[in-house]
Amino acid sequence: MADRDFYRILGVARTASQDEIQRAYRKLAREHHPDVNADPGAEDRFKDISEAYNVLSDPQTRRRYDAFGPDFRQVPEDVDPETWRRAGAGARTRAGAGAGPAGGTRFAYGGRAEDIDLDDLFGGLFGGRSARGWGPVPGADQSAEIELTVQEAYRGGERPMTIGSGSSQRRLDVTIPPGVIDGQRIRLAGQGGRGSDGARSGDLFLVVNIRPDRTFRLDGRDIHVELRLAPWEAALGTSVAVPTPDGEAKVTVPAGTSSGKRLRLRGRGMPNPRGLPGDLYADARIMVPPRPTDAERELFEQLASTSGFDPRSGH
């Protein structure tokens, strides 16, 4: 249930002056207006703020709200606040339950035209329309971040997601196309801000944020993995299994591979729904035994005395 304490929504005291209420509303509106704040939760907060302001900014409705609480619209105009107070909480609860959600607290954007210039010139043109001055207004676009692992981005698929916060929270099953990349926007048509008077809703854009991965480093659609090699593997050549987001792949390491050499597996990077997939690069990195055994040390010493190789001479 949404917070129905209009004073709390606006963050003002119950004794606040009309000026204070106006100031609080303006500040909050600048922060939560759906065209300024694309967060999916902002729209409902803005509606709450606007409703609170619509009630509290009019001295008459404010008095009724103070006397009868959030359901004041269900109390007939001619009821005396004192009589109402004496009627007790029990009766009030029943009345509230009976009236249900038909209280007619429907939100309408704005409702008060405080500017005078051009708009006044057109005032007459809208004579037949609602007080707002226009027909249905489509909803605003919203955007939210979605964090994916490299594997999720690679494979795609369904993913449940919670959008918004508090009372405006909703769950969505998002279909992620295979091969989304960092920063890509996934458009969910019609899942953004609601339009007024049945106008169509805006779109929700999910900005993909791929979580940094220990194994896979992404560069656009290319994927880099580290390929650790023993000195003799690098010198003599070998065949090694390297991880890919889709399982392991065999890589043939040619003889004479030095650190920094890149082995490319064409097309094993991120899939691309609209074109060629990226490549997977295995970056060679030669590792030596941190604590060689006596036998290993002996063999390395033998190699050192036999070899004429100087890694520091020109290439």
């Binding site: 303006r26 051009l118 043109l125 676009d141 920063g183």
Partner: protein
């Protein structure tokens, strides 16, 4: 001679105003104020892309939400668009630097 029927991708002033639920004169004023873009043909008629219906909706929401006049709405829209571009660039930079 026969002509293939094609869907017109743009709307004239009346169609656009009607779809947007606004008076055509107000739409024309928004164009004059530079708040809304429109193409003008040699006969002086205004043409709009369907995607601009979303622009009009934003103008209306901003105007109502902040009690802005239409000229000020133009400024706010320009600023919001510039902020969106800057934020996207900042995100890109952060992403490249974060690796």
């Amino acid at each position: 001679m026969t002509y293939a029927l094609v869907r017109v991708p743009r709307l004239d002033l009346d169609e656009f105003a009607n779809t947007a639920g606004m008076h055509p004169e107000l739409v024309r004023r928004l164009v004059v104020l530079g708040v809304l873009d429109a193409a003008q043909d040699s006969a002086g008629r205004l043409w709009f892309a369907r995607s601009q219906l979303a622009d009009v909706a934003r103008i209306q929401r901003l105007r109502a939400g902040f009690a802005l006049n239409y000229a000020a709405t133009g400024l706010v829209i320009d600023l919001l668009d510039r902020i969106a571009v800057l934020e996207a660039a900042a995100r890109r930079r952060q992403r490249l630097g974060g690796q």
